[in-house]
């Protein structure tokens, strides 16, 4: 039972990170019907930006309080990652809008190759490990010689995720910007006729997705303490699985899917085998897409002639 609770805590932490990335996939798919293949690599770029910002703050500027440092890192990573994503949308996807359906997907795969190789060339192929931070733990229960612990960084991850999701939900549900986004999602041409700047709305959607990916990237760096240039692909595919599992296009679905994928991965590793945890994630992806492509909270896709 103690093992179960410990894995539950770990799974929710990991699931928060997946959920944050999954929102980027689900929003872009909702608004332009495209699988933004490079989103996982945008996440990876954000981990590197966070790493560099953290190194500069702690070693050069000597910021003493780790929480203040992390807050600055979070904001810096969000700004720069958003800029990267905005540029990608502008350069690689916008010229292809209205083109045939494969073109943006191929362009996105190309962008994903560019991002991971750019980081490899500019930052080197080796793992980058930082000293562990926020490692103190609360011991919740120590029955039977097995300690169930909750570390500061797990609390940080869950709190930051919850806070940003609340802000984000407010933006989409209550502001004119969110209304424009929902309008574009339903009917882009009609939204344009009614005076919504569609190009700008799509750009902002990419920027919002990237900002949340940057939050996930910063939290990933805090949680694991190691980043590498090819760490974009697998978390990206898992987050996409989360988006599909929750119902692509649905924001609460993405978070729910992220939590489920995180829990499944952690429990699978704990009770079955660590080696096959990625196989489990990919299998879930295939099974969900084949048997319930509308996901848990999504609308069924009606085929029109």
């Amino acid at each position: 039972m103690e093992v179960f609770f410990q894995q539950l805590i770990n799974g929710v932490t990991l699931g928060s990170i997946y959920g944050l990335i999954a929102i980027g996939y689900t929003m872009v798919f909702g608004i332009i019907g495209m699988v933004n293949f490079s989103h996982g690599d945008v996440f990876m770029v954000s981990t590197f930006i966070a790493l560099i910002a953290l190194m500069i703050l702690t070693t050069w500027l000597g910021v003493g309080s780790i929480l203040i440092a992390l807050l600055i890192v979070l904001i810096v990573a969000m700004i720069f990652t958003s800029l990267v994503s905005w540029t990608i949308e502008r350069v690689a996807y916008r010229p292809l809008r209205g083109s045939f359906r494969l073109a943006p997907l191929i362009s996105a795969i190309g962008m994903s190759i560019v991002l991971s190789n750019f980081v490899q060339v500019s930052q080197g192929p080796r793992n980058k490990a930082i000293d562990p931070i926020l490692n103190n733990v609360f011991v919740l229960s120590a029955a039977g010689g097995y300690q169930v612990t909750l570390s500061y960084k797990q609390i940080l991850i869950v709190v930051v995720t919850a806070a940003l999701l609340a802000i984000f939900w407010w933006v989409v549900a209550k502001t004119p910007l969110g209304r424009a986004q929902r309008a574009c999602e339903q009917d882009r041409k009609m939204a344009a006729l009614l005076g919504v700047d569609v190009d700008r709305t799509i750009s902002i959607t990419f920027v919002m997705g990237a900002a949340l990916a940057a939050v996930a990237g910063t939290l990933y760096l805090v949680y694991y303490g190691v980043v590498n240039f090819h760490d974009g692909f697998t978390p990206g595919v898992k987050a996409f699985t989360a988006a599909v599992l929750g119902g692509i296009g649905s924001l609460p679905g993405a978070v729910l899917g992220g939590l489920l994928i995180g829990l499944i991965e952690v429990f699978w590793s704990a009770y079955f085998s660590v080696e096959y945890k990625d196989v489990a994630a990919f299998s879930i992806l295939a099974i969900v897409l084949i048997f319930m492509p509308q996901g848990i909270l999504g609308r069924p896709d009606v085929e029109k002639v």
């Binding site: 495209m34 699988v35 770029v45 590197f48 930006i49 560099i52 910002a53 190194m55 500069i56 070693t59 050069w60 720069f80 800029l83 990267v84 540029t87 350069v91 690689a92 010229p95 292809l96 083109s99 045939f100 359906r101 494969l102 073109a103 997907l105 191929i106 362009s107 795969i109 190309g110 962008m111 994903s112 190759i113 560019v114 190789n117 750019f118 490899q120 060339v121 500019s122 930052q123 080197g124 080796r126 980058k128 490990a129 930082i130 595919v237 996409f240 599909v244 080696e275 096959y276 990625d278 196989v279 990919f282 299998s283 992806l285 295939a286 897409l289 084949i290 492509p293 085929e303 002639v305």
Partner: protein
Amino acid sequence: MTSATDPNFARPAPPTPVARAAREALFAAIIALGVFGPLLAFRTTQDMQNRLIVETRYGLITIVVLLVFAGRFLLSLWFARERPEAGPALGARLAGLVPRSVRDVVRSGLPPAALVALFVYPMMIMSLTGGSGALKWIDNFGIQILIYVMLAWGLNIVVGLAGLLDLGYVAFYAVGAYAYALIATKVIPATFPGLGVWAFWICLPIAGILAAFWGVLLGFPVLRLRGDYLAIVTLAFGEIIRLVLINWTAFSNGYEGISTIPRPSFFGVPFNASDTGFAATFGLEFSPVYRTIFLYYVIVCLALITAWVSNRLRKLPVGRAWEALREDEIACRSLGINTVNTKLTAFAIGAMFGGFAGSFFAARQGFISPESFTFMESAVILAIVVLGGMGSLVGTAIAAVAMIGGTELLRELDWLKAIFGKDFDPAQYRMLIFGLAMVAIMVWKPRGFVSTRMPTAFLKSRRAVSSDHVKEGHG
């Protein structure tokens, strides 16, 4: 409102093209500083104590930003220049200078000429560079490119003809490679050791059949899926096969892979220095280049068989059904085409050629490991098919030569070291440039190099169909 009637009001003069270009270039430079700044200006490395430190590279980021500024400035000026009245495009005007009869001769004479060039290529290289230099040119350029041409033509059956977007094609390549490697190193020595020299020729069809079987097996669950979802599920299948190959060490030897795979023989005559070897049998001096040349001709034949089969299939009922399926699946079903069988044959035949290519790959390398079958390979093959203009064999071949040959050429650019310093290794920019080329070609020509279609069924005369009327990619 008053300003319009005020005689003293002067409308601000429109900015000159140079001023506008400068403003746009400045904007682009600021964006570039933000995008490249964090990752180029700072670099994290390990110091002597193996701790992470940050180095600065302000010079590099300055150069990059200045380059972006200059590039954007010139681009803006180019677009803002005074244009003469719109005439036909440059290509069309140039083509108009050449008489039609000459054009027809070139068009009909090009494929035979390319075939002849393909067959004399090893001899040409041999006479130009001599024995040892030729090895590299035939192996890295000839064989390497032709493997991708064959893979792309195989995938073209699935993606280009049947319109089924497959991002896991490398799985079948892996099935073929592992089928040959395991049968040739484990099964044949244990059962019929006498067949050792024939291993490649026995395993080639087996690998193809196994891959086709896997094509049906993986195709069956995804029959209902279309478009992006199909792509993602096939990606998942490809990754699952790779992860199983990594983790099931008893079967595949995991990360270490399988080595000492027997090399192909010249129809029973091995390529070695012994008295019964190829060189001794034909009275030649022993040289490793003969095996490479032989492998080159094997892959040429395999690729040509792929092209011939897919061209013939297009004219058969099943090929027509594939193309109809690509254009409109619902219409197909309404007309009574069995979409299940049509899709499964496309998956099976495409996978079969992937299996052939895989077993050739294993035979050529002599060593395989799961590292060779990553998602990146699938993406590269799909990129070649799409960049070539899905469905066009010639375009696909051009794309393979441009993308694979171009990135291989980077390995040869040693003179760049003289400019950028000793540590500069052009080969590490291979995939970066590949990805940039993918994006650039998509933005510039979303339909690929050869976007027109030659229909196999027509009413009165056979005419190329413009890409605007081709609707693939929806299925």
